[in-house]
Amino acid sequence: GDQVEQSPSALSLHEGTGSALRCNFTTTMRAVQWFRKNSRGSLINLFYLASGTKENGRLKSAFDSKERYSTLHIRDAQLEDSGTYFCAAEGTEGADRLTFGKGTQLIIQP
């Protein structure tokens, strides 16, 4: 089965609200990255975590290798936050090999 299970697959929020995206891993991962797809199709790196939490503006991410999950929290959502978000995890074996989640389509409504 999939090593990275990302949820939800789609999420609709009203401006000013918040929520969390989650990736569960079926095996121990060494690190996780979160990306947001831009209009050109490139995946912009939001966070790289080997452990703990990181925060950047209205985004905050956490990674727990032992519990096998990572989250991306969005607060005070803005219209420009709409887009597709991906997590990607590095396994402990086969270094540098990333396994991606299937993505979350986030829609922010006025």
């Binding site: 086969g94 990333l98 991606f100 299937k102």
Partner: protein, 112 residues
């Protein structure tokens, strides 16, 4: 869903040489995409490859430097020509199916 396999997993080559990276899908996909990632940075879209037509390149990437072949609906090859140390990065192939996007595991290239 779509499973994507890449070969090689990693490679080391000398400056001035060329390297081929292969991507194989376990089912037919219309479009394949190639991305480049420098360590812990964004994945930059390099090009989009559809079967039987020339790949479409994004700004900063050219056909001469990164020729891409797409001979059928399950296969694509990215070539790095005249490799330079600045090309050292991870290359990912990707495809879409039913509005979901899938990625290969990546090929780490080191150019000496």
């Amino acid at each position: 869903s779509v499973l994507l396999y890449q070969k090689p997993n990693r490679d080391i080559c000398q400056s001035g040489t060329s390297l081929k990276i292969q991507c194989v899908a376990d089912s037919q996909v219309v479009s394949m995409f190639w991305y480049q990632q420098f360590q812990e940075q964004s994945l930059m879209l390099m090009a989009t490859a559809n079967e039987g037509s020339e790949a479409t390149y994004e700004s900063g990437f050219t056909k001469d430097k990164f020729p891409i072949s797409r001979p059928n609906l399950t296969f694509s090859t990215l070539t790095v020509n005249n490799a330079r140390p600045g090309d050292s990065s991870i290359y990912f192939c990707s495809s879409t199916s039913s509005y979901e996007q899938y990625f290969g595991p990546g090929t780490r290239l080191t150019v000496l």
